[in-house]
Structure formats: C-alpha cells, structure tokens
C-alpha cells in the first residue's frame, strides 16, 4: 500500500470511528473523542465519494446528532480540522459543530459583570482619507503618524498616537473614502524604534516631532485635513 505517515494517521480516525459507531449503535451517548472521530470520518468518506468541499462540511455537521452526545460534549466540538482526499486533491475541512454553551459547559467562562468600555482621557478624532486605489488596514499599535503615505490626514495631530480600538483589531480604510478614527497617546517610555524611520527614537525628545514632520514631508507623506 506504500502508506505515508499521514495516511497511517487517517487509519486512526477510521478505527476510532468504528468504536464510536458500535457504541452509538448500542445507544451509548458519545464522548469528545468518539464524536470527533465520527465527524472526521464522515468528512473523509464524503470526499472519497466525490463530494465537494461544501458537501463534505455538511456531512461532518450531520454526522452526529446533539441527542447522541453526552451532556456538554457538543460544546467541545468546535474547530475540528481534518484533511480529506477530494477529487481535486487533499483539502482542509474545518467543522464547527453548532452548540449553545452555558455556565455548565466544560471549561466555560462566565462573565457576570460586563467589561467596562475602553477609556482614555486624551482622545484625538481625525478624518482620514485613503487617496489610493486599494484598501489599507491599520492595526492597534501602529504609530499612526507613520502609516501608509497615501492616507491623507493631519499628521501632526497623530504624532505619538495609535488607534483607540481593542488590541488585536484593526481599522479598514477603503480606497477613496474618508474614515473617522480616534487616536490615543502611545504609552510606556514613548520610544519608537523602526516603523518608517520617521522618529526612530524618543517621541518627546527636543525637536523630535519637528524632525519627524520634516522627514514625512520630504518623503511625500500626505498631510492635511481630509473630508
């Protein structure tokens, strides 16, 4: 058969799914590995029989019924990834089994008091226009002063500031459109090394801001009020 390590691994799914299938046939409620094996197996077999990627996902989603699972197991079946062999080759399929977790679910996190909104005492609001022809996205901790030169906004007002949005998120600036953003001061020691090299040192050193503005203008960064 000349089986590869990856093929040998797939046989583990088959074995586990047979065990799970026998147990289900006896009316035994399924646990996390059993349900995962049945879902993975259904995806593999659908692909083998010529299913499309979308059809294989459906096969995975319907491989087990919530009523066949032990209490709480449905909430453990998120993000099941499996690589099946489709007619056009191996493809990754990810199954998120639907469930409604509550405070009794395994590993559940319950937040009884809402998280307070992000706060800052020093917020600057700027209009920013994307003068290019493609979308530009900016992340939270980017020094907004040094973002893509094709964004038109009041650069001086953005000096030493970053976006006021939750960490890990970003803001899109669609081509040709103006977007309003809120900026807050960079904290810590306020030393910016790298980026576009416009500051490359302490933000608040004497003359640093004027020098950064000079470099930005020299390099053609758009600067000015946007509407």
């Amino acid at each position: 058969m000349e089986l590869t390590p990856s093929e040998l691994d797939r046989l583990l799914i088959f074995t586990a799914s047979r065990v799970a299938e026998d147990r289900r046939a006896r009316g035994t409620k399924l646990n996390h590995p059993e349900a995962t094996a049945l879902i993975s197996h259904a995806v593999l077999e659908a692909a083998r029989d010529g299913a499309t990627h979308a059809q294989a996902i459906q096969a995975g989603l319907t491989a087990v019924k919530p009523s066949e699972l032990l209490d709480g197991v449905a909430t453990m079946l998120s993000g099941i990834s499996v690589e099946a062999v489709f007619d056009d080759g191996r493809r990754l399929v990810v199954i998120d089994f639907p469930s409604t977790p509550d405070s009794s679910s395994p590993g559940s996190v319950t937040r009884l008091e809402p998280l307070p909104a992000l706060e800052s005492e020093d917020i600057v609001t700027l209009a920013v226009r994307n003068d290019s022809t493609i979308n530009i996205s900016v992340t939270t901790h980017m020094h907004f002063f040094e973002v893509n030169p094709r964004l038109l906004f009041d650069r001086e007002a953005a000096y030493g500031r970053h976006l006021f949005i939750p960490a890990g998120e970003h803001i899109d600036f669609p081509a040709g459109l103006t977007t309003s953003v809120q900026l807050v001061p960079i904290s810590g020691n306020r030393i910016l090394i790298g980026f576009a090299g416009l500051v490359d040192g302490p933000l608040d050193a004497p003359g640093a801001q004027a020098e950064a503005m000079r470099r930005a203008r020299e390099l053609g960064y758009l600067d000015g009020g946007a509407s």
């Binding site: 909430t75 009884l112 020094h143 960079i186 904290s187």
Partner: protein, 565 residues
C-alpha cells in the same frame, strides 16, 4: 451585538479576565480569576493584524536581553502564585519574569520584555500550571515516561527502570544505565535506592550510583533495623526516604513503625493502605508532622468500583498467586472502603499533602492530575452562575483548587528536596509548564513545556496544511528529540555521588531531612487518626481528632468519561 455576545467574543479572543468565573473541565470546580496583569487596550497578541510586531508590542533587542520564550496572557493556577492572568517570560530554560508582557517603549509597566526575536506562545484560553511531579513511579516499561508526559507530568521519582520489581535499585552499575536510559526523555528523573539494608553497605553503593533517596518497602523488608539504618543514613546524606510499611504486621504495628521512625522525616506512600502497609490502620501515619503522607491515584475520587478492582490488582502487582488462598486473604485485608472514604476527606481537609500514581505498580502513570481534581470536584459546592447571585457572593473553589494543585506540584517537590528547581511557577525555577485548555484541565494537556521548550503535547496529521488536523494525538514534540531530551531534563541525585550522564545536568536534592507536615503548601493540618473496629473485620469507622471522617463513593467521577475513548 448584545452584551452576552460582546462578552463571549472578548473571552474567545483574550480568554478569562479578572473577575470571570471559569469551570475547570467538566468538574464542579468553578474558580474566579483573582487578577489580570494585562492593561486593557495593550494586551499583547501575536498573528496577522495583531500587535506583537517589531517596535509596537516587541522591542528590537536581543532575546538574551528580553526573553527567549514568553507564554502570553495565560491563566496561571499555581499553589504559590494563586489564580491570575499573566505572562511568563523564560530565559535559558528558567522562568525569568512573570507579569505584564510587551514592549516597555510603547506600553506601561511592562514586567516581561518581549523582544523582536522572542518566541511567543499565546496563552489565551489556556491554563498554565507547573509541571506535575509524580513521586511514586515504577518504571516497569519505558513507555511509562510517554504516559506521564502525556498527562502533564514532568518529574518522576522512580524505583526501577525495567520490567523487574525493584522497589529501589542498589547496584551502582545498574543505576548508571538507568540514568542513561531516562536521559532519552525530556523529564526530570530521580531514582530511589533500595532502602533494605541492615548495614550501610548496600546504601552506600546506591548513593554512589546517584540515587536521590531511598525506598523502604515491606516486600524487601520494612523492619525496625532497616528503618533505622536507612533513616540514619539519609540524615547523614540529605536524601529523602519513601516508605511502604510492614503490611503484614509481621514485626511491628503502625505504632512501632512510628516509634522506629523516631520523629525523622519520611514520605509515607499510599497512606490509605490499599497500596500496602500496616493493615488495617496505616492511615494513622497521616496527620503526624514528621510523616509526609501521599496517596496513589486508584483510590482517589473514591468511586463505587474502587474496592472491587483492588484485590486483583494487589495479587497481580505483588508477585502473588490467585490459586493460593493465603495470598487472597492478605490481599483482601488491604482493601477497605472505610479508609478509602476517609483518605479522600483527609485530602480535602488539607491533612494528606501529596498525590502520586504508583505507576505500573498499582496506579496509573497518566491519571494523577485527573484523579486529583476529580476528587476535589467531589467535595465542591455548586457555583450559582445564572445571575441570581451577586458576583461577589458566588461560591467559588479557588482555595480548594490551589490546595489540590499543591498536592501534585510544590508539595512533592518539597518532600523530595526538588523545590530549588521545580514545583511552582516562580522566577528562577525551571520553566516546566503545562498548558491546559479550560475544557480539559487536568484531563488532557495541550502542551508540556520542559525547561522552556515544547517537549510534548497535541500533534496532528503530519502532512497537513495546519498543525491541528485530525487525528490529534498527545505525543512527542521537538523537545523530546535529539540531544535536547537529555539537556532539558535533570538527573536528581545526591550531593556525594559523581555519577553523571553526558548532556544531562545532575542536581543534588536538598533539605529533605528538615521538611515537616507544617511546611506543606496549603496543607499542614495535623491531628490523630483512630479506628473503631466493627464486628466485620474489614469494616471500620475512621476518626480524625475524634470526628468521624467518611464520604459516599461517587457513582460518576469527572474528567474521564467525556475525555477518554
């Protein structure tokens, strides 16, 4: 989006925050996060569109001036640190800092500086504990090491290295091979010498061979002379002594064993007695200050089938013969529901400070975390989380959870003199860290980090586009390969031996002779244990300081049925 969805989205991205309630696996144990070192808006995150970038969340310094590895924003559950969200910085295999992570140039109050070359292991949605310490292992087969690592154990105190019943090894030549063999795994390993000597002669050879302590076992003699010889020798050389007492009461009763120990420190293995020792009342050893008691895992989370499995287990593990009626009889005398029930209570009360496996010798190498927390769950109060109880009034199990973490981490480290290297998540100690998903805490780990390097954990289809494609198995990671396996682990030895394995660090154990019950973290409750005998010779009432201690066997225990095929 409504408030609930906002909260669930935030939790999915950032994990639990201060004040959140987290259910551990499928247990009744709900903890409340005590604190969170992150600053809202400055949480460090790695990935596409995230902020762990050069000059932003990462400082452009050498990793040697920041840290080699950082585990970010992880829920720490540690007997010393408590229950808090923080980041763990690691330098050259040791924990270098715990606190807020990021770039001090752009973020306030950074305690763990993340360099542009630092390895970042995202900890959101994961729990970090210290690596488990299994202080009672019979390494009867090499794969016991795989089983242990797969369950979140990073330190073994073994009594053998081969399919022979050693209960301690005395030959320096054989010990030399044992140390070399264990160096194939990213584990800290100490081997116990056989504490069966009426003279010092056999003990000296084991000491020279690099043992970290001695095991006194009734199968090889747990008599007054042996006890005194071994304890005197251990006092002279600062090594621990583990004890399986005279279960036949052949030469002494439990009171005589206590007298022979004469106030010296000793680790009383499987103190309930089913694993062996004075029948029926070896449990009396628990609660004494010089006797550090432990349990082995089959009797923990005392269940309805606990007693029934043990007669066969005793006969099989101890070289007995089921055809021999006298063997059956002494095996039966070791199995008592009353002491199992009392043992579980004594754990909850903080009297018995250590849990262990007795792997391949009447316990399960990969079950100690699971059974320890299943036991904790038996005694937990149900948290009311439907909003009908104010957050500050919800009954949570932080203290009970930390007490049970101590049983498998810091306390065995203290008992065996390892706490200068392992046992908790403290700056300066080895970065032996287990990462657990909230949903499978104590049942199945996600990653086992040994001395700062991922050494074991969940791996997927090796030919896949992603690392997490089914079938997921828990097995070796890179730290288990090449010369790393030896270098990441420690050979726990004694201060006299020069026995050494190339590539592995030898570390003498310390302070094993002065350790007392009152030093046990989140334990140290002392008292006297008494038995009221009933008509049926195997039925007892067990009392602690006069009060009856018992519990009903559980019909269902947590952390196993939903998780194990």
């Amino acid at each position: 989006m409504n408030e609930f969805h906002d909260a669930q989205q935030d939790i999915a991205v950032h994990g639990a925050r201060a004040g959140d309630f987290v259910r551990l696996g499928d247990t009744e144990l709900v903890i409340r996060v005590e604190s969170d070192d992150r600053q809202r808006g400055n949480e460090l995150q790695i990935g596409f569109g995230k902020n762990a970038r050069d000059g932003m969340g990462m400082q452009s310094t050498r990793p040697s001036q920041s840290c080699d590895v950082v585990i970010t924003n992880v829920l720490i559950i540690d007997a010393v640190q408590g229950i808090r969200v923080s980041s763990i910085g690691i330098r050259e295999g040791r924990i270098s800092a715990i606190g807020r992570s990021g770039n001090p140039d752009t973020m306030d109050d950074i305690e763990v500086v993340v360099g542009s070359g630092t390895v970042i292991i995202p900890g959101e949605g994961l729990i970090a504990t210290a690596g488990g310490i299994d202080s009672h292992v019979h390494a009867m087969a090499p794969r016991v090491c795989d089983a242990a690592l797969s369950s979140g154990i990073t330190t073994l105190i073994s009594q053998e290295f081969g399919p022979f019943w050693g209960v301690g090894v005395g030959s320096a030549w054989a010990l030399g091979h044992g140390h070399k063999q264990f160096a194939a795994w990213p584990l800290n390993v100490g081997i116990l010498g056989r504490g069966a000597g009426s003279t010092n002669a056999p003990l000296f050879e084991a000491l020279e061979g690099g043992v970290c302590g001695f095991k006194i076992h009734e199968d090889t003699g747990a008599h007054p002379r042996t006890l005194d010889t071994t304890l005197t020798f251990a006092d002279e050389h600062d090594v621990a002594v583990a004890l399986h007492t005279d279960g036949l009461n052949e030469m002494m009763h439990v009171e005589d064993t206590i007298a022979a120990i004469a106030g010296r420190a000793v680790h009383a293995y499987h103190v309930e007695g089913c694993g062996g020792g004075h029948a029926p009342d070896v449990l009396k050893l628990a609660g004494l200050n010089n006797i550090l008691a432990s349990s082995t895992n089959p009797t923990l989370a005392f269940g309805i089938n606990a007693a029934d499995e043990h007669v066969a287990m005793i006969i099989s593990a101890h070289g007995m013969n089921p055809e021999l009626p006298s063997d059956i009889e002494i095996a039966r005398r070791r199995v008592r529901q009353a002491t199992m029930a009392a043992e579980n209570r004594l754990h909850d009360m903080g009297v018995i400070p250590v849990t262990s496996s007795d792997a391949l010798g009447m316990g399960r190498a990969d079950d100690t975390w699971r059974k320890t927390f299943a036991m904790a769950s038996m005694f937990a109060d149900r948290a009311i989380l439907d909003g009908s109880v104010a957050p500050q009034d919800v009954v949570v199990e932080n203290e009970r959870v930390l007490r049970h973490v101590a049983k498998i981490t810091i306390n065995p480290a203290l008992v065996h003199g390892l706490s200068h290297e392992v046992g908790s998540l403290q700056v300066g100690l080895l970065a032996d860290i287990v990462l657990w998903p909230y949903r499978s805490f104590a049942s199945k780990p996600n990653m086992v980090i040994k001395s700062g390097i991922p050494a074991w954990g969940v791996v997927g289809d090796p030919g896949s586009t992603v690392a997490n494609a089914q079938p997921l198995t828990i097995s070796a990671q890179f730290g288990a390969f090449g010369a790393s396996a030896a270098e990441l682990g420690v050979h726990f030895t004694n201060s006299m031996s020069t026995a050494h394995v190339a590539g592995r660090r030898s570390v003498p154990v310390r302070n094993t002779r002065t350790i007392r019950g009152t030093d046990m973290v989140r334990h140290g409750v002392l008292g006297s244990i008494d038995f009221d005998a009933h008509v049926d010779a195997n039925d007892y009432t067990v009392r602690f300081n006069g009060d009856i201690i018992t519990c009903e066997p559980a019909q269902v225990t947590t952390l196993t049925r939903k998780y194990v095929i």
